[in-house]
Structures are given as C-alpha cells and as structure tokens.
C-alpha cells in the first residue's frame, strides 16, 4: 500500500515536471512566471491567451486521454484475461476511427465532436473481436490475432474512404494519426466528465474484478455475476476509449504500456492498478507529446499517436518476447479448414484457367475507351491495358503463393505479408523513395519498397529467432513492426504536401500504369521461385504434421522452414514492390484453395496461384470500370471483397477443434 502511494506520488511529480516542459514548448517562448500568471492572474495579454486557449487545453487533454486509455487498457486486460489487450491491439481504435471517417464523409458539415460515431465503431469492433476470439476458450493469442485482422479490415476500409472521398476526409488525416492539438477548451469540456465517470465506475467495480482474477468458476461460486460485470467493465473501457478517440484520434500503445509498467512495479490490487495506470498513462502521453514536439520545429507537427507507436512498438516486441517464451513452441500441425467435398483437381485447374481467360478477355475489352478509334484503341490496349492486366494476374499469383508458403512455415493460417509486417515495410520504403529521392521513378520506388520489405522481414525473423519462430511471437513482432512503419508513413504523409495522393494510391495498392518491366520482374520471380516452391511443397506436406512427426518421417524441418520462408518473403517483397500494399490475397487465396482441394501442398500451390491471379485481375477490372473515369485502386477492391470473407473465415476457424 505504501509502495503504491509512492508510485502515485512519484508519477504525479513527474507529470508536473513534464507538464511544465510541455507548456513551455511551442513557437513562442514563455517564462515560468508568465505560465503561472496565466493560470492564476489572467491579464488578457496575448501570452496569457496563448497559454489559456492553446497550450493548457493541449496539456489537459493529454493528461485526460493518457489516463483514460490506460484505464481502458487495464479493464480490457483483466476482463479478457489477455495481457496484450488494449484498444489498439483489439481493433477497437481502428473501428472507432473508421466509423468517424465514415460519418464525416456523409455529414461533412458536422463540426461537433464525433462521439457517437466513435462509440458505435468501438462497440462494433469490440463485439466482433469478442465473438471471434471466443473459440477454444478466451484464448488471448487468438483474440489478439482476431484484433490484428480486424484492424487490418477497418484500416483498409478507412483508406478506401479517404481515397474515394478525398475532399471530405482531408481534415481527418492529422486527427487520424492521433494528435493532441487543441484550440479551445471544447475537447476537454467534452471528454473530462465522461472520463471521470469511467474512472469512478471502474473504481467501483474494481473489487469484483479482483475476484474475477481467480477464474470465472471460482468467482461464480463466490456468488459473483461474472458475465454481467465482465460486460460492464468492457463497456466502461469502450466508453473511455471512444470518448478519447473522438477528441484526439486513435493513439496506440498507451493502453498497453502504462498498465504493464504499473504491474511490473508490483501493484496487485485492481483499484490501485487503475489509479497508478491513470497517472502513468498521463505521464506517457504527455511525455510522448513533449518529446514529439522537441523533435520538431516551426509548423511541422509530429502526431503524438505516431510517436507513441514508435515508442510502444519496441515495448510490444519486448512483451511478446516475455509472453512468447512461456507459451512454449507449439509442435502442433497447421490448423486448416477444408471443404467436406473435394473437387476433382484437374477439372478445377482447367476451370480456373478458363475463368481467368474469360476475365482476361473482358479486361482487355472494357475500360471506357470503346469510343476511341480502332488504331488508338489497339495502341491503348497493347501499351497500357495489356501490361497492366498481366501485372495484376502475375502479382496476384506471387502474393497468393507467398502467403501460402508463409502460412505452412509459420504454422499459422493467418500469416500473410500484410499481417507479418512485410507489406508496411515495403510501404515505408516506397514513401521514402517518393519523398526523399529526387526524381524518383517507378523503378526506384519499387526497389526502395523491395528493400523496405526485406528489412522489415529481416527484423521480424531475427527477433523471433530466439523463440524458434514461435508463430505467436512472429505475429506480435509483425504487429509491432507494422505499427512502427505505419507511424513513420503517417509522419511522412502529414508533413509533406507534394505527392500526397500519389502516395495514397500507392499505399492503397494499385495496378495503374504498370508496364512491361513490371511484368518481366514478376515473370522472372514466378519462373525461378515458383519451381522451388513446388519442390518444397512435398516437404511442406510433412511439415504441416508438426515438428515431431515431420522429423520422424525424415524431413529436415529447420531447413525446409528457412528455405520456404526465404522464398515466401522474396515473393512478397517483389509482389508488394510492384503493386503496392495489396492485402488479403495471401490470406484469401490459400484458404479457398484448401477448401477446394484439401491439404496436399502441390495441388494447393497451383490452385492458390490461379485463384490469387484471378482475384487481383478481377479486382483490377472492377476498379477500372465501376466509377469510370475515376479508378478505385485494386488493392482496395480486394480489401472490400476480402474483408467480409476474411471475417467469416476467422469466425468459422474459431470453432475448429484440434
């Protein structure tokens, strides 16, 4: 108890110091006397106004937001019994953000605080993640994975909106990265009562939460209505999150970092954890904002959300490292879902090829240029449309195969370049080229993206080496790397003016303007790596049975894993470097293939590749014709088609048993 008081007091002292630093920061230098004066002896001078109307609200909202995110983190973690739970890891922030963007697109005249949209989005996300994560007991990892996937779905839908309604959603970009900038007390006045109510209620139920830590059965037998209190607690967490998100945007990782530091300091009782986490959350967020401002000068603004991600990402890696070790390495085989009836393989392949041919012909013929005279038409088709369509087909194949290989290797059907952090790495690489290399061509962008992808993959694999590539570790590290890359991407996009829409298009994944060089690159990749993958498939059949059995029947599991991941990552890097961040294909195509053909890898490889190519080519076609003369980037089309399928898939695999 004494210990705990000391933590709180110490936290408050640090917070006070940080606050002072925080207020002093900005384009106008202010003395401590002026600051004190502004608070206690307001004299209507410009300096006092500046402090009262800009700097103080920013500080106060930082304290409130940090504290509030921290208590929602505590609630989620203890009630879902998941040390990794928080608004950002569960997809709650992403859901809330999406909902706000959607709202502002349709009610662009609305100038208030979008609390209700934020709340609705958060609620929906939380409900979905709870349903998805419930398979096989409330397995923390399963739930976190569902959260990651859900975030992916929401953020791809968000970027679709941002791209389609660029004008309406323009003002949301800074907010979307999480920013404490305030220009009046409106935000504070709105959030403060809500956060205080949340804090009060969570303190009231804190005793019940303590009892629930003994396990549901014990708690029930002690006469506690476990289900009721769990939902109340999660509800409070959602309320706390969305009231903050509505004002300052989604801010990652505070909800994870603060409670964990508190628990590591040895605080045990929920009531005390809540209070100390609130203080510490405020310290973290205000500190991050102060740091972010220290790094910037003039009108540049480093969104604090991006900064917490850059601090919090490594923290998550560390946490994953700690938890990952206790999880032991699963020697399980891959958990896959196959259809009840399998189609005849040959018929399936022929059928798919025919469909691909059909879509190919349709793609060549369609695209709004039918009014052109035939000579021009031929030119357009041969020089522009054909390479683009072939690129879509080949990139689809490459991405699908990459996801397929990684899934078996990592023993995880949710693995894919985009969930593993390879895609965000490529995105960062591409943006660096777009903004920092003078006169960057599509070739230099591709190369830079390729390097980014490889670098991200290298980081992920090196860090998870010690846990013997434990699938859970990989996903967590991937999540952290993704967060860091996304944050960097946000910082770049926000602080630059030129090339914003070009980079948004790249980020959304596009087949627009691809040429024969792209086709050649992809073709070479498929012709060299494809056969290697095909040869590896024989051994992957064995690897799928789990480490022990695979070794027992004569596979060199380590070597096969290494080779397959190399091939998978190379394919991913090449694919992403050509068409940008096209997500989901690597998840969808292999699942469909397994569903159709069963578990043999060689058959799956072929069918997966065909399906992937078909998917991206179709997406390309749809993207070109639906809102002609504009275009929807094909990556977004894939996401919009893929997201529901993927959610359904998550739901149905959550019911699979071993």
């Amino acid at each position: 108890m004494l210990m705990n008081k000391r933590i709180v007091v110490l936290g408050l002292v640090i917070l006070a110091v940080l606050s002072l630093i925080h207020i002093k920061q900005g384009s106008v230098d202010l003395s401590v006397r002026t600051i004190v004066g502004a608070i206690f002896k307001y004299d209507q001078s410009v300096e006092h106004d500046l402090i009262r109307d800009l700097r103080l609200p920013r500080l106060v909202i930082g304290i409130i937001a940090g504290g509030s995110l921290a208590i929602s983190g505590v609630l989620f973690q203890s009630l879902m019994r998941n040390p990794l739970a928080s608004a950002s890891t569960l997809g709650v922030s992403a859901g809330s953000y999406f909902s706000v963007v959607l709202f502002s697109v349709f009610f662009s005249g609305f100038r208030g605080i979008p609390f209700f949209p934020a709340l609705v989005g958060a609620l929906i996300a939380a409900i979905v993640v709870l349903i998805l994560g419930r398979g096989r007991g409330a397995d923390p990892v399963r739930m976190t994975l569902a959260g990651v996937a859900l975030s992916l779905v929401f953020s791809s839908m968000t970027s679709a909106l941002q791209l389609l309604f660029e004008h309406e959603s323009k003002g949301l970009f800074l907010w979307g990265a999480g920013s404490l900038v305030q220009n009046s007390w409106r935000g504070v006045k709105f959030a403060l009562p809500l956060v205080l109510v949340c804090l009060a209620f969570s303190l009231i139920i804190s005793r019940k939460i303590d009892i629930m830590q003994l396990g549901d059965d014990t708690a029930s037998s002690l006469g506690l209505n476990v289900v009721l209190y769990r939902y109340i607690g999660i509800g409070i967490g959602i309320l706390a999150t969305s009231s903050v998100v509505a004002v300052v945007g989604p801010i990652a990782f505070v909800g994870i970092v603060a409670p964990h530091i508190v628990k590591r300091l040895g605080v045990k009782k929920t009531r005390e954890i809540l209070v100390s986490s609130f203080v510490l959350g405020a310290v973290v967020l205000v500190g991050a904002d102060a740091l972010a401002r220290a790094f910037t000068s003039g009108s540049y603004e480093l969104p604090v959300g991006a900064f917490t991600a850059i601090i919090g990402g490594p923290w998550l890696i560390y946490l994953a490292f700690k938890t990952g070790k206790n999880m032991g390495n699963s020697s399980y085989g891959l958990l896959v879902q196959t259809g009840k009836k399998r189609l005849a393989y040959k018929a399936l392949v022929i059928g798919l090829c025919l469909v691909i041919l059909l879509v190919f012909v349709l793609s060549l013929g369609n695209g709004g240029s039918s009014f052109l005279r035939s000579a021009t038409r031929d030119f357009v088709i041969a020089r522009i449309r054909l390479p683009r369509i072939v690129t879509a087909l080949l990139a689809g194949i490459v991405l699908a195969i990459s996801g397929f290989l990684l899934q078996t290797v990592l023993n995880n059907t949710l693995a894919d370049p985009s969930t593993l952090g390879v895609t965000p790495g490529a995105a960062l690489g591409a943006l660096v080229a777009i903004y920092f290399l003078k006169g960057s061509t599509s070739l230099t962008i591709s190369i830079s993206a390729f390097i980014g992808a490889l670098a991200a993959a290298a980081v992920i694999f090196i860090i998870s080496k010690r846990s013997k590539y434990n699938p859970i570790m990989l996903i967590l590290v991937g999540m952290a790397v993704t967060a860091i890359c996304d944050a960097a991407v946000n910082i770049i996009v926000i602080n630059t003016t030129v090339g914003k829409s070009a980079s948004l298009v790249w980020l959304a994944g596009s087949t627009y303007g691809r040429n024969w060089t792209n086709v050649m690159t992809l073709l070479v990749a498929i012709l060299t790596l494809g056969p290697i993958a095909w040869l590896l498939c024989r051994n992957l059949d064995a690897v799928m049975l789990g480490q022990d059995i695979a070794t027992a029947i004569g596979t060199n599991v380590q070597r096969i894993r290494l080779l397959s991941s190399l091939v998978g990552i190379l394919l991913a890097a090449i694919g992403v470097a050509t068409v940008g961040t096209v997500g989901f294909i690597g998840l969808l195509a292999p699942h469909m293939a397994r569903f159709l053909t069963g578990i043999k890898h060689r058959k799956n490889l072929v069918v997966t590749g065909l399906l992937g190519g078909l998917l991206l080519m179709t997406a390309d076609l749809i993207g070109r014709v639906v809102i002609y003369p504009s275009e929807i980037p094909s990556g977004l089309v894939v996401s919009i088609i893929g997201a529901p399928y993927f959610l359904w898939l998550l739901y149905s695999t959550s019911k699979l048993k071993r």
Binding site: T338, R538, L545, D548, T551, A552, G598
Partner: protein, 271 residues
Amino acid sequence: MKNIRGSKLTLGYENTVIIDGVSIEFPMNKITILIGANGCGKSTMVRSFARLLKPMEGQVLLNGRNISTMVNKDISKELAILPQNPIVAGGITVKELVEMGRFPYQNWQNKLKAEDKEMVEKALKDTNMLEFKDRRLDSLSGGQKQRVWIAMVLAQGTDIILLDEPTTFLDVTYQIEILDLIYKLNREEGKTIVMVLHDLNLSSRYADHMIALKDKRVYRQGTPDQVVTKDLIKDVFGMDCEIIKDPLYKTPMLVPYSQAIWSSSPASQAI
C-alpha cells in the same frame, strides 16, 4: 546387424536435467517396455532415441552410428516413432495421413509406388482402419485417431518402432487389439519394439524386457518377473501392493492397496 542404444545420455530441457548419464541398450527383436511415474522422463527418453530431442551429453547409436550425424531420411527408414499425443490438422484424411508414412521412400516426384500402396493398405488393414480410409481425421474418435497414427508408423516399414503410450484413449478391447498387433509384428516380422505403457499388468504380459526409470536413472531392468516386484512398485511409484500371478499367462500381476478402504473395510484385513 540392427541395434539401437544410448551411451552416457544426459537429457533435459534448457537447464533442467531429466535423465542423467544413462547408458541403455534395447534388445533386438524384442519388446521393451519403459515404466515409471508421471514426469520421470519416459517420453523424454523415447524422444531422444528418435532424434526428436538432442541429448545434452552422450549419444544415441543406431547400428553403431551416431544418430546426430546421420541423414534424417535414412533414420526414418530404420526407426519410426509415435510421439505421445500427436496433434494434426483437421482437414487431412485417414489415407492421406497413413500415406505420409511412406514419405522417406519417395523422391521429388512425390508419387506412391506399388510397394508404397501395398504397405499403406496393409497398415490400414492391420489396424482395422480400412473402412475409415476416406474419413477425415477430425471426424474420428480418440481411439480411432490413435489407430490411424499407429497405422502411419507401421506404413513406415521400419525395423525399430518406438511408441509412446500407444494405448491411451483406447478402450480395453482395442488396447488388447493394438498390443496383440504389436506382439504379432514382433514375433512374425522380428521388429524391435520400444514402448511406454502405464498399465503394469499388460506391460508384464507383453514385455520381453522392462526398464523402470526413477530419479533420472534406470532403477532396474530385466524380465517382467525381475522388475515387477512389491519393493520396486513401492520405490518407483510409492504405492503398496501385492503381486500375484496372472491367472491366464502366469506373468506378474499387481493388486494395489487402497489407503481409504484399507483403514475402513474389515474385508481387506483378510489378505
């Protein structure tokens, strides 16, 4: 000359030693059964003989060669193992899994030859799983699954077979059936069998050789008559019992005392 033995084996995980400097040889063409309390390291031992766990010290010798220097595929043609609680993907069918037992004999083309198909068929027949061959593994009961795994191990066609608790999940009929099958393989085809079994009475009946583990070492080994004795059961399992003769096969049979009933029931005084 086929044989498998361990020399000065020290086994364990990270920093904990589970088996400490044990040299052991499994007699050829015989059935050897490992016994010991839960967590004493039976699975650890079996796994390391099957190169699934690297020894901390010492080596496993297969036909005189250090197993860690051998090509993995060659080992799989000599030695098969059924780990404790194997878990696998739901989508696979019985036949597909059993065919995986022929993996070491296939080249890059991945085609099953006539001989492979024969072996698979025989394994399925021996385990009475032929009628289930197109069923998906996840639609089977625990005992049926176990039989599929055994079929896979048999399909591997090795001279040495290691089995970690092959009869868990099986009802009493199938326990006997599987043990009979293993016995037949041993007597008719001369296969060397090493297995972990918890049922001491069945162990005594089927074993040629028994090895009892305790305190990181081999506590005693020999014929069932030498190993299954009142004092050993007391020392290894910490349990009081009487040993009588199995009325059918004259092998040792264990009749345990129950603590609770002993103190309350007068009938037990009569023994």
